[in-house]
């Protein structure tokens, strides 16, 4: 069961300052998150404060603007960021986590290089009122001739969202007289709430190229009563940049020439690509090596898990209702899996209002027995129920926490336990490790939801656990099979029946997406998908009632389809292209330049089996040669046969790849060009009359 179950615990609307803020325009809900110290910790911290009698009261205002450099004024472009609309000349972020007057000073200097770059003069600094305030704002414009226009306009406090004492606000202002060639700069202080500690993140990668950046963090001073210790990890830092702790225990870093962050299709999670340093305050587990750290985490989680699943007798009784003693092991596992998936899964229901929840009087289960008796649970609980039932059925089964690879990749050495955020069950059967997550709705037996596949995780046991890697399904496990029986009219229209069979994760995501939709919406959804597959306008009508509620059977949809004018005119001949349902491949990877690796969610395949009955009197003049491009992890092939007045076209496209380094992009692009070229190959027809399509 993946991270989505923890959605409510992620304070998406509660972002607070982190060093990642320092773009000219700051978007509230990206990049940042913070860890709110539990209340118990706050209390402890409050005690410390009273004993320590700190004297410092308010954060210091920024010392002021830095001198204007004539060289900076002369800049008209940046060789390392050719074409940039603006660049950050200098950015400084200084954080002081003293616990009482914790604050973070941010200073940004931006060179405007084009008219478009002037938009960075509009500044918005979001903040959560109860946790922080933004104070000491100063700003100015340096015109291209070096003259200075100080910002003396109004700083607006904008309400983004306000509800029942929670206020998500933004300080916003715009700088005057901003011209191409000029420089804008501003500073502000995030003044954090007293007696709270927040994790901190230096996100170096910005929308703009950064010429130079300096960061510092003065950590909270740990004490016996408040044993919070800071540790930090980093990734993708520019050469020469590395956070270092000084003799004064302040962590500092300077970085230069940080490229602007670019977004591309099919790229890995942005969090993994950005240059960043993450600071984490820890109360427990301080000063441990990764092995020790994970051992403790594993033991702790295993303890919690065993408490939850340890209802052997109740589970044995339950299993007895599900399986027969004579069932082969695989059948037992399947029966248990099917039964668990039939239990009401609250994770996938529409979010209720508090009144509805109160009225429903549904309690959170504290163990698997309660789930079984009540007949509902959330996705995570149902997966653990499966574990308990599998064990009760006599299987060697383990609970595993794996890393959902939707937003992050996982590296144990960074010791970020929150990234082990999805639970699955490992069952050892006939010497093979099988992974299950019945709490992820519509996941067929033997598969995991895509973000849990091919990822690292911790198999829990009393000794702390063992690292595992979940299986990555083959492309054939998640397939789209299209079977069409069509007729070509003598006016060139193509019309007939189409049956599409979605299996594996292809069926799962469609069922999941439409789980709360009605028949009309589902019909529209499927028909739109077909229309998007055909490269020209088409008329599509769903004719059957697909099975939306099951998990195991493929999702089968049948359509009447008409593609007006599909055959093209070539004077006395007519042409029909090989590929009909190939529009999805038409525009992918059309750009030659690529910055990031290419990332697919899961391996998949598409197969087509199409027959086209020709109009009476027509015959086939020529068909393209068959193609077979087998690049091991990527395969494309098609074949066209003339069956006495009926064309038979088969096509296969499969992808058994998850991530490709940027250096392979050219080869991948070339592959797709070959696919498109193949799909565009023409079948030459000879109409019965001279020019039948007119």
């Amino acid at each position: 069961m993946p991270a989505r179950r923890t959605f409510l615990s992620v304070p998406a609307a509660c972002s607070v300052p982190a060093s990642g803020n320092a773009a000219a325009v700051i978007h509230p809900l990206n990049q940042q998150f913070f860890r709110r110290v539990p209340v118990s910790c706050l209390c402890k911290l409050a005690v410390v404060v009273s004993l320590a009698m700190w004297t410092c009261a308010i954060p210091q205002a920024w010392a002021g603007f830095q001198p204007v450099s004539p060289e900076e004024l002369k800049i008209t472009s940046e060789p390392l960021a050719p074409g940039a609309a603006a660049i950050i000349l200098y950015r400084q972020v200084d954080r002081d986590d003293n616990g009482k007057t914790s604050h973070e000073d941010t200073y940004v200097r931006i060179k405007i290089l084009t008219e478009e770059g002037r938009k960075y003069a509009d500044v918005e600094i979001p903040f959560l009122k109860r946790s922080e305030d933004v104070v000491n704002i100063g700003a100015r414009t340096i015109k291209p001739d070096g003259s200075i226009v100080n910002f003396d306009g109004k700083v607006f406090e904008k309400t983004i969202v306000k509800a029942k004492g929670v206020k998500y606000l933004a300080k916003t202002f715009t700088l005057p007289d901003v011209q191409v060639g000029g420089i804008i700069e501003y500073y502000y202080t995030d003044d954090f709430r007293e007696f709270a500690l927040f994790d901190s993140h230096w996100i170096l990668s910005d929308e703009l190229f950064t010429k130079r950046a300096q960061f510092s963090l003065k950590p909270y001073k740990s004490s016996f009563e408040n044993p919070f210790r800071l540790r930090w990890t980093w990734q993708s830092l520019p050469p020469g940049a590395e956070p270092k702790e000084g003799p004064d225990h302040v962590v500092r870093m300077e970085a230069r020439n940080i490229p602007a962050f670019q977004t591309e299709d099919f790229m890995p999670p942005a969090n993994e690509l950005k240059s960043r340093v993450d600071f984490i305050y820890e109360e427990d587990f301080t000063g441990l090596e990764p092995d020790q750290f994970w051992k403790r985490i594993g033991k702790k989680r295993n303890g919690a898990l065993e408490d939850f699943v340890g209802k052997r007798k109740a589970m044995e009784e339950a299993v007895a209702q599900i399986v027969s003693p004579n069932d082969p092991p695989e059948v037992k596992l399947r029966k248990i899996y099917d039964r668990v998936q039939k239990i009401r899964n609250t994770t996938y229901e529409l979010r209720k209002t508090e009144q509805e929840e109160k009225r429903a009087k549904e309690k959170t289960a504290s163990n698997v027995e309660e789930i079984w008796k009540r007949g509902y649970g959330d996705g995570m609980q149902l997966t653990w129920l499966y574990l308990a039932l599998a064990r009760a059925a006599g299987f060697e089964a383990y609970g595993c926490w794996v890393s959902d690879r939707r937003n992050y990749f996982f590296f144990p050495q960074t010791m970020q336990s929150e990234k082990l955020n999805a639970n699955v069950v490992l069952v050892r059967l006939n010497g093979k490790d099988l992974y299950f997550d019945p709490g992820a709705a519509f996941t067929p037996y033997g598969l995991l939801t895509w973000s849990e596949t091919g990822t690292k995780g911790l198999r829990l046991d009393k000794d702390g656990g063992t690292w595992i890697q979940t299986t990555l399904p083959a492309s054939s496990d998640s397939a789209i099979a299209r079977n069409a029986k069509l007729k070509l009219s003598d006016t060139g229209d193509l019309e007939g029946k189409l049956t599409i069979t979605y299996t594996g994760l292809e069926a799962m995501y469609r069922r999941l997406e439409n789980r709360n939709a009605d028949e009309t919406e589902r019909k529209k959804f499927l028909e739109e998908q077909i229309k998007e597959m055909v490269p020209v306008a088409s008329e599509v009508d769903l004719t059957n009632k697909p099975d939306w509620s099951s998990t195991e059977p493929p999702l089968v949809a049948e359509f009447d389809i008409k593609i007006p004018g599909w055959a093209s005119n070539a004077g006395k001949r007519a042409m029909v292209p090989v590929g009909i349902f190939t529009a999805a491949e038409k525009r992918v990877f059309e750009h030659a330049d690529r910055v990031h690796p290419v990332y697919f969610e899961y391996p998949y395949s598409k197969t087509d089996d199409v027959t086209i009955e020709l109009p009476p009197g027509w015959h086939v003049s020529s068909v393209p040669n068959p193609q077979n491009q087998d690049g091991h992890v990527v395969v494309y092939k098609f074949k066209v046969e003339d069956l006495n007045g009926t064309l038979h076209v088969t096509r296969t496209l499969s992808f058994d790849v998850l991530i490709l380094e940027q250096k392979y992009y050219t080869a991948l692009r070339k592959f797709f060009q070959v696919v498109r070229t193949g799909d565009d190959e023409q079948i030459v027809l000879q109409p019965g009359t001279a020019s039948a399509l007119n």
């Binding site: 074409g83 969202v161 093209s568 070539a570 004077g571 038409k586 393209p624």
Partner: protein, 676 residues
């Protein structure tokens, strides 16, 4: 009223999706805070709706507005109280969004009560109150720095199919003008809707109906009138349809105080023009720095046209678009000296500054308020505040005539007028973009104002002229050079696209996208852009490319698609449901392609696709493929002549697009030359 003058052409108003996204954040935040109050019974007016007989609705109807009652009480010229009750029956899961009630507020419009209820098909009613509401600001962006408009959002429990959700609120407003709009037609069908107007003694009203047959009012008590409509059809959006304001039924009602008032109910466009003229009054006066700037810009210019062009370019490019709209600031521009000093402003600020500067060279000009999409305001529209943009009308000096000044019209009193949009940085002085053409705007003049139609420019002024000289190799590779010249909006679109490019390496991407839409495989070997910044000059792309396997082999034949690049067809009318609304083009256009493909040595033309000549009053398409020596020459012309296609001619347009689609896929056949 939410209408304001703040629109920048490339900057769109927040979409419904953005609003829903905002609501999502708000609702999430609401879920994080303290528990909601316990439910209470729905009021009697909602209870009465249970079991009300309804006509059959089709399976795509999300919900039906069972009952709507808007009660407007004009307390004085400075205070209007509006009480609203609405209840929906949810018919489909898609109708659940009706359980989120949204009321806009601002410092002049305060909400005094807000309640919501749900009557489920089973079980007790739910109730939510003011304190359960979330307050959220619209997701302003792209230069919209700050606005005082906010939303109060109430999430009503259980908005599930079969259930009835309803809400009731009251707002008190200090109006800028004495006018209201009863917008009774919406996306969902309406079973019954009422509007009641209570005026102070002696006051009068004027009601006008738009896009719907008039319902007669009923005097229900002393100076109180009522209107009722029922069984109003829902509006399902269609691609390229007119703006909602141009098709949805509504009633505009203006109020007039006894003996007149300083506030205006806009009896006619002239009175609205007077109101706006007063708002602008004095704000165009030039400060010494403005005078100095005009001296610098225009001093060395020898003609009035050159001076105007210099001023126009300054305001278009050197004044940054920033909108700060608080209170009347949504309508009233900042004084020109302030705009000049800050070097930023919104559309009305820019219009004000350009007027101020033009005045310094002795040229009169006026504000024009307008809606950014054609069709929202028509000659049949009564005077009201349904605008969202401001531009400038420049009174051209007598005798001034220049081919670059196209967006002009002859006003019987003010003479030759040139329309100019200083917010639109990509349309050159002398022209206006497509959506403003043939659109109606309020020309604000010293003696009031009048609704005028802006001119429609010749279609050739918005065009792509593409010429390709290409060579086909025996193996099927096509290579050669392409020159594209773009004018009007066709140029502005590419300039805008390139403006957003943040690194030089990405400048090739628009060309890659163009080629990618037509070629399965290609490699660009050279590309240049001309006149990217010079908006008064034609924009140009020049590029060379190679496309492997462009021609397909079929036995000993080579199959070549003569239409190498670009697409003019459209699938917007390929829908199951018949079209309900007219189709609106962005603007007039005329595109031409000329592709010459040298055929490989040893081959000759065997067969060519037939020519296409499709001519309708709204658009035309002509294409021809010819064999010329050792080359195939494909030429075509696509022209949009009328800006709107009425719904009864939608089938003709559909056929027109199919003809184009067919032509674009046609193939020429080459065969080996047979030795004689």
């Amino acid at each position: 009223m939410t209408s304001r003058l703040c629109c920048s052409p490339e900057r769109r108003a927040p979409s419904t999706r953005q609003l829903l996204s905002l609501l999502g954040v708000a609702v999430f935040l609401l879920a994080c805070v303290s528990p909601a109050a316990a439910g209470g019974d729905a009021p009697q007016w909602m209870r009465a709706l249970v079991g009300v007989p309804l006509p059959p609705y089709d399976e795509k109807t999300d919900a039906v507005l069972l009952y709507s009652d808007t009660n407007v009480t004009v307390l004085s010229a400075d205070k209007i109280r509006t009480h609203v009750r609405e209840a929906y029956k949810i018919l489909r899961p898609n109708g659940r969004h009706r359980g989120t009630a949204v009321v806009y507020i601002n410092p002049q419009r305060k909400i005094t009560s807000f309640h919501g209820w749900c009557i489920p098909t089973q079980g007790k009613d739910f109730e939510v109150k003011d304190k359960d509401a979330v307050e959220a600001a619209p997701n302003v962006q792209n230069g919209e720095l700050v606005s005082d408009v906010k939303y109060k959002i109430l999430r009503i429990p259980a908005p599930d199919p079969g259930n009835i959700v309803g809400y009731e609120y009251e707002v008190e407003e200090q109006p800028f003008f004495l006018q209201d709009s009863w917008e009774f037609q919406e996306a969902d069908p309406v079973h019954e809707s009422h509007y009641t107007l209570q005026l102070p003694p002696g006051w009068e009203y004027k009601a006008s109906w738009l896009n719907y047959p008039e319902a007669k009012s009923r005097l229900s008590s002393n100076n109180q009138w009522e209107w009722t409509v029922g069984d109003v059809k829902g509006i399902r959006t269609e691609e390229e349809m007119p703006p909602i304001a141009g098709v949805a039924g509504r009633m505009l009602v203006s109020f007039f105080a006894t003996g007149g008032s300083i506030k205006n109910g806009f009896a006619d466009w002239r009175s609205m023009g007077s109101w706006y003229s007063k708002l602008v009054s004095g704000r165009t006066e030039a400060s010494p720095p403005i005078k100095q700037e005009v001296g610098i810009l225009a001093g060395s210019k020898t003609t009035a046209l050159l001076k105007m062009q210099a001023i126009a370019a300054f305001v278009q490019h050197d004044i940054r678009y920033v909108a700060i709209e608080l209170g009347i600031g949504g309508w009233q521009p900042h004084p020109a000296p302030e705009v000049y000093e800050h070097r930023y402003g919104d559309c009305k600020d820019k219009a004000t500054l350009v007027r101020s500067m033009l005045s310094e060279i002795g040229i009169d000009s006026y504000h024009v308020v307008i809606y950014t999409e054609r069709g929202a305001i028509t000659p049949a529209t009564p005077a009201h505040h349904g605008f969202n943009h401001a531009i400038t009308a420049i009174k051209l000096p007598d005798g001034l005539s220049d081919p670059s000044l196209v967006a002009t019209f002859q006003h019987p009193k003010w003479g030759k007028i040139l329309f100019f949009d200083p917010t639109d940085e990509l349309t050159p002085f002398g022209q206006i973009r497509g959506q403003l053409q043939a659109n109606y705007g309020l020309l604000v003049t010293p003696d009031g104002g009048e609704l005028v139609q802006l001119p429609q420019q010749p279609s050739a002024m918005n065009s792509v002229q593409r010429i390709a000289r290409l060579t086909l190799e025996p193996g099927g590779r096509l290579k050669g050079d392409v020159d594209e010249v773009r004018l009007g909006d066709r140029a502005a679109t590419e300039r805008w696209r390139l403006r957003l490019v943040t690194k030089d390496a990405d400048r090739i991407k628009p060309i890659e996208s163009l080629l990618g839409s037509s070629l399965s495989s290609f490699r660009i070997t050279h590309a240049t852009v001309t006149n990217l910044q010079h908006t008064d000059q034609p924009f140009g792309f020049a590029y060379s490319f190679e496309a492997d396997s462009y021609a397909k082999s079929a036995g000993n034949l080579l199959l070549v698609r003569p239409r190498v690049l670009g697409s003019k067809s459209s699938g917007i009318l390929e829908t199951k449901e018949p079209r309900k609304f007219p189709i609106e083009f962005d603007g007039p256009a005329r595109d031409t392609d000329s592709f010459e493909i040298a055929i490989p040595p040893g081959y000759e033309v065997d067969d060519l696709p037939p020519p296409v000549d499709s001519d309708y009053s709204f658009a035309s398409y002509h294409s021809k493929t010819e064999a010329k020596g050792n080359a195939i020459r494909y030429t075509r012309t696509f022209e949009v002549k009328e800006l709107s296609v009425p719904v009864e001619r939608a089938e003709e347009l559909k056929k027109f697009y199919r003809i184009i689609a067919s032509d674009e896929r046609n193939t020429a056949v080459l065969k080996p030359v047979v030795a004689k």
